[in-house]
């Protein structure tokens, strides 16, 4: 190992999701096969073709004091809650620069969102229209900007190595974590707080996604609506929340005696260059990301025993993903336990990579793959071993997991994690 090729490990995790207000309750919900999807009961939902979503289990104002919360978009509130959990979980007691912590110049944050502060933007437009210019909040811009969650988390922990926000729709969370791994690997930082967040449950995004025919309209059966890999899947269910990890150089973690969950091996990236929203049907772009992952890291296909699939429950996307896995890994796919946790959490867009990284890390740490629910009839086009209904134990010895995320625009980001 040289100065520009540090091993990166995961030392902290945090989440606030439709299944729970922290990573432990989220994990418990995943293993129990619980759905976080419910009816939207707001008045505005009545007019929409889609009236279901996966709201967070714990409202952020129950956690963040109101004077602080009112200056943050809901997406930043989620990110802060998950980041505070991850930071404490990593064993840090104070901000960077304080006793027992990391140097501020060696701490970064990379927190992404697919859409940013959309409810702030639309809410303040309502204020402008109904109450006039003077009543528009002076906090509007710092709340709606997509880098706001990352900046708020960076200020919270005194991170000065760099605060970044890659934006790639539903791949944003994974891209953030991949970027953070590179910051540490190349020596820019010793510790990076990274992940994804999203808070887009509002009539406008729902109307827009619904008009694209991207969302499930199973309004009569919210808990059965998100059904990745099932023959009757008919679109994604919108979720909200955040998942955050603390990434750290192996040396830094060892020096402070930190508990290590697993290694963050690296990332594989590619772009489809096909259509602005439709997945490339053969999985060509996803295959390229997987191939790049194998070429640029020391990951071996034989080690990979678990995949947290992107699998949003759309007819085309789920098939293209499995085709790509089969195309690149061949028979090695047979020993991979494939889980689609969006069947339980819904699709958190830019937050998906965050909470699914938390799930992948915990799957390796506890050696158990969470189930995929709602697969009554596995699509015969899904040529892979999907973990159905109940969690499945993962083998002993050195094992690795992949977390896939793909985004509108044709962004493909695959992350790999491995037991230590």
């Amino acid at each position: 190992m040289n100065a520009t090729n540090h091993t990166v490990v995961v030392t902290g995790i945090g989440a606030t999701t439709p299944l729970g207000g922290d990573s432990a309750s989220t994990w418990e919900g995943l293993l129990a096969g619980r759905s976080g999807v419910g009816h939207l009961t707001e008045d505005w939902a009545a007019q929409l073709p889609v009236r279901i979503a996966a709201r967070v289990a714990v409202e952020p104002e129950e956690v963040i004091p109101r004077p602080r919360a009112r200056k943050m978009d809901r997406s930043a509130q989620f990110a802060l809650i998950a980041a505070l959990e991850a930071w404490a979980d990593a064993g840090f007691t104070g901000k960077a620069g304080e006793e027992g912590s990391v140097a501020p110049e060696r701490l970064g944050t990379v927190v992404a969102s697919g859409i940013g502060g959309v409810t702030t933007l639309l809410g303040q437009y309502d204020v402008l229209r109904d109450q006039g210019v003077r009543k528009v909040s002076p906090h509007t811009v710092p709340m709606l900007m997509p880098n706001s969650p990352s900046a708020n988390v960076g200020i919270e922990f005194n991170a000065r190595a760099g605060v970044h926000t890659p934006v790639s729709a539903c791949a944003s969370g994974n891209e953030a974590i991949g970027y953070a791994v590179e910051m540490i690997r190349t020596g820019r930082a010793d510790v990076v707080v990274a992940g994804g967040t999203e808070a887009a449950i509002h009539p406008l995004p729902i109307a827009a996604f619904a008009n694209m025919m991207a969302m499930s309209k199973n309004n009569d059966d919210p808990q059965g609506a998100s059904r990745p890999f099932d023959v009757d899947r008919n679109g994604f269910v919108l979720g909200e929340g955040a998942g955050i990890v603390v990434l750290e150089s192996a040396e830094h973690a060892a020096a402070r005696g930190a508990r290590v969950y697993c290694e963050a091996v690296g990332q594989g990236l590619s772009a489809d260059a096909h259509h602005i929203v439709q997945p490339e049907p053969t999985g060509r772009g996803i295959s390229a990301a997987l191939t790049n992952l194998l070429a640029l890291t020391d990951l071996k296909p034989a080690e990979v025993v678990h995949v947290n699939a992107h699998a949003t429950s759309t007819p085309q996307g789920d098939v293209a993903e499995v085709k790509a896995l089969r195309g690149v890994f061949g028979d090695d796919v047979d020993h991979m336990a494939i889980s689609a946790t969006k069947s339980m959490t819904g699709h958190l867009l830019g937050g998906a990579g965050g909470i699914e990284t938390v799930a992948s890390v915990l799957a390796l740490y506890h050696r158990v793959a969470p189930p995929t629910i709602n697969v009554d009839n596995l699509d015969p086009a899904i040529d892979a071993d999907v973990v159905l209904d109940k969690p499945r134990e993962l083998p002993a010895g050195p094992i690795a997991a992949l977390n896939n995320s793909f985004g509108f625009g044709g962004h493909n980001v695959v992350l790999a994690f491995r037991t230590i």
């Binding site: 004091p65 109101r66 004077p67 602080r68 009112r70 200056k71 003077r134 009543k135 909040s137 002076p138 906090h139 710092p142």
Partner: protein, 84 residues
């Protein structure tokens, strides 16, 4: 509407600062600095001003806001400029 007394203005400002910055109303005293003592940054100060304008029937132009460093500055300004 009758003009507010100095005490009424202080009480009203304390409620506004409590709502915006979460500071207990009894801590909002005449000699306190908005920025240094009451956690009201320049953005939140705009919110305080807009709320005060509405509550006390007063116009506080942007150019005058920068002179309102303490709660006492704001109370005096409002006392002087309120419409009755």
């Amino acid at each position: 509407m009758a003009a507010n007394t100095k005490e009424e203005i202080l009480t009203g400002l304390a409620e506004i600062v409590n709502e915006i910055a979460g500071i207990p109303t009894e801590d909002v005293e005449l000699d306190k600095s908005f920025t240094d003592d009451l956690d009201v940054d320049s953005l939140s100060m705009v919110e305080v001003v807009v709320a005060a304008e509405e509550r006390f029937s007063v116009k506080i132009p942007d150019d005058d806001v920068k002179n309102l460093k303490t709660v006492g500055d704001a109370v005096s300004y409002i006392l002087e400029h309120q419409e009755d």
